[in-house]
Symmetry: C2
């Protein structure tokens, strides 16, 4: 290994260590930290972030990247890919002045506070001036980069490297009418019964059942753990320490099971990245959409399938005999797949979820290109809800104010959720070609072949391939909603007898 | 504030943040980390340590310290003290080459491995060559510093700034014969009954009782928490997030209560440091001995006193009616103060504990000044055990191999444990002068006045005063064993009717 490459890897390694240390501090903050710790923790995270940034954007790194890009031009090699990804991140980091980052942190932290108040009072006017400022900052951020086909491209690039606004629009454009039509058909069919899901299910038993499921998926508790936190999330401290969090909600006690599967899907991705990429620019998943394809696959394509519950339902029934007395796996399967247009994105079912996302994407694009003004958001939101889902929020808290993302300046993020769903179905079709008896295996509670397929095709590559390239490489086509439409149509036709 | 002072504080703040981040990572390692996390965690800790070292020993820091020492010569002011302590630490850090630190890390990590094996096989010869290497490195370390009165001074200085070997020898020299005589007298008296302490006490109930006690001491669970770990320890993440760990051992179930009090004593010290010293060279406790004086005070002078159990025993009895049926507070008090010469330091009672320390100190001094050779350690160890405690270890695992410290190169550390005991008694006499009804308050379960006394006299000063100066300032004399002898004699005369 050349001396320059070694030095380059050393710096990347230290930047990675700082990032992982921040992840530990962030996890502790959510899982353990007593309230008194907040101020000190904020300072520690700020310092770690600053040092990582300084280290990564140093002149030395700039020189190394310049030399190494010439020495290792082939991005198909690990070294070449490592350098390509690092160079792209370096370029991004250098374009954004640290004074801007500091200013944005202050503005968005005030906006977050205002959002909390606005949501609690269901009063958009409290949040409006702050969202306007956040939007100004986002536009300024975009101005640091060379002009793209669409200004929104610059934002998307941070979450889905290489992805264009036009591509996402086309994907969603194809999907939307079909998904709207499907929901309409379902709404005219006879609704499934799911009242029993709201009964009391003992928290400890639900938690331990969730760990039984993800243990069978292959989540290795010697390389991870599940803890309680206000919101479920997955976090990575190293390729052999990948943790998830979960929660228990009295109103939806079995949601804990699906959250565990979802976060486990993220965790299996991170646990499956090639150890050779550890502490480099190739570690971790390649994009939010591909990450979400993994979590949604385990949660929905596996975890909300009939074969899955044919395996697990008898044991669930034994664990909760009172609540599930005399019920069939099929009844349970239908219940956990109930479709019902609802106001809140995070509670939406599989069939309606993407429509929540499309609505947000259109508003984001409009805000960024100037065709939508912040002051009009509540009205636009409600009109689109009527169009897509046939319901209108009674107030802004249940409408335009429901999500935290815009308050801390995250614009460009939402579409990755829907793209993840779409990719999960594309992969699923491919997997079913390669593993002929997949359903049969699922029915036996066997997940090793599926997991290893994902590891070999997706996980192991880490950040080496950009999302579109990876999906192309694995499925033979770019991200496309056709498979997802086929999946939804087949599933809900069976459940609702369409 | 001058620009230089501001920059100086900024660097100290970042160094402190890195230290606290390392503390979080270390805590997680002991409390939560799945086994897979070990390798990555080691790298993260190494990187954080390296960055903190680089930042603290930068040329910029050197120039700032030089200028600031002239600008703020008065060490009685906070700024002056901050600069004085930072300059001392800077000087120490600069003297030791980073190549030496790296070499020592490798050697001591191998020695630690060898020690684990040697202890498990009770075979000193496995550990001997590694201890010899550790000792060589220690001598090399000493050679980086200007010659002192005794080479051991240089080691002591790292744990007890300003303390001399001659002083410690004199303190211990005065104490030893009196402590040996006391133990002899006790051994001739009628032994107290403590068999019931080995019964089964429900873990959850013991744990929650321990939290009841330290809650009454004033440990604020909004600024800390108690978790399970293989060894009890206290760790600081910020002045408002100071945590402790504890364990439950079947063989000594109520030891959990005393460990909680001990670690709480450490925690109250850290929680009581002036917030003005946060993220500076003055944060945290001033030395290991003063720290230990706090933990031992809450554990022993408070927690093993009769008034304490007059308050808590009735509730303990209610919690464990079967085990403590018909017993008096006085019987319980005597049992938890039973004196019995034993082989293992960490299990030693208050009366014999210091003798374990003195033995180690004499051996350490001898190793460092060359009067003791490593090969003779088992023999010397056993001879001193016979002399001081009248018992001889049947093997090296229960003798010279019992402690981990020498294996990772910590020589100079042990004496601080005994000094802590001594200081705790000196402070206790002073406290009893200032708070006339202290026993009465303890009997009522009231600890606020004691805690606030300690906060005002000791805790708040953080690192501002060196240990000898602080003890002098508070008690009117330097560290001296007379008070400790008076305390032990009075306590055990009552218990054993001497």
């Amino acid at each position: 290994m050349s001396e320059k490459l070694e030095k380059f890897k050393e710096i990347l390694g230290e930047v990675s260590d700082l990032g992982h240390a921040s992840a530990v501090l962030g996890w502790d903050q959510q899982v353990n930290m007593p309230p008194g710790g907040a101020e000190g923790r904020g300072q520690q995270l700020a310092t770690l972030g600053k040092l990582a940034q300084e280290k990564f954007t140093s002149d030395e790194m700039g020189r190394l990247l310049e030399d190494l890009q010439n020495e290792y031009p082939d991005a198909e090699t690990d070294e070449g890919a490592m350098i390509r990804v690092a160079a792209r991140n370096y370029d991004k980091a250098k374009r954004v002045p640290s004074s801007f980052v500091a200013e944005q942190a202050v503005i968005s932290s005030k906006a977050l506070e205002a959002w909390v108040e606005a949501k609690s009072k269901s009063d958009f006017s409290i949040f409006r001036p702050h969202l306007e400022k956040n939007l100004e900052m986002i536009k300024k951020y975009i101005s640091f980069f060379p002009p793209a086909d669409h200004p929104y491209d610059t934002l998307l690039e941070d979450y889905e490297p290489g992805m264009k606004t036009a591509e996402v629009r086309e994907i969603f454009g194809n999907l939307r009418p079909k998904q709207v039509a499907l929901i309409k058909a379902i709404s005219e069919a006879r609704q499934v019964e799911d009242d029993f899901l709201k009964e009391t299910f003992n928290e400890k038993k639900v938690w331990s059942f969730s760990e039984k499921i993800i243990g069978k998926f292959g989540y290795d508790f010697k390389r991870g753990r599940q803890d309680k936190a206000p919101h479920p999330f997955q976090t990575t401290f190293s390729v052999n320490d990948v943790r998830i969090t979960n929660r228990y909600e009295k109103d939806a006690p079995l949601a804990t099971l699906f959250s565990a599967m979802h976060e486990c899907g993220h965790a299996l991705y991170e646990l499956g990245v090639s150890p050779a990429y550890e502490r480099s620019s190739l570690e971790g998943g390649t994009s939010l959409a591909v990450h979400e394809s993994q979590s949604r696959m385990w949660e929905n394509l596996v975890g909300r399938s009939l074969p899955f519950w044919e395996h697990f339902f008898p044991e669930l029934q034994k664990t909760f005999p009172k609540q599930l007395d005399g019920m069939s796996a099929n009844t349970f399967y239908k219940a956990v797949n109930k479709v019902e247009p609802s106001l809140i994105r995070v509670n939406a079912d599989e069939a309606t979820y993407n429509l929540h996302i499309m609505l947000r994407l259109e508003i984001e694009i409009g805000m960024v290109d100037g065709s939508i003004e912040v002051k009009d958001l509540p009205e636009i939101w409600n009109a689109k809800m009527q169009d897509y889902l046939g319901i209108v929020p009674p107030n802004d808290a249940l409408g335009v104010l429901q999500d935290i993302h815009w308050s801390y300046g995250a614009i460009g993020y939402f579409s990755t959720y829907a793209l993840g769903n779409i990719v999960s179905a594309q992969l699923w079709e491919k997997i079913n070609e390669d593993i002929k008896d997949l359903d049969e295996q699922t029915r036996k509670g066997q997940f090793a072949e599926l997991r290893e397929w994902l590891r070999a095709k997706i996980h192991t590559h880490g950040h080496k391939y950009d999302p579109q390239d990876l999906v192309q490489k694995v499925t033979g086509s770019k991200i496309d909603s056709a498979a997802y439409v086929r999946y939804l149509t087949k599933k809900y036709s069976e459940i609702y007898g369409l």
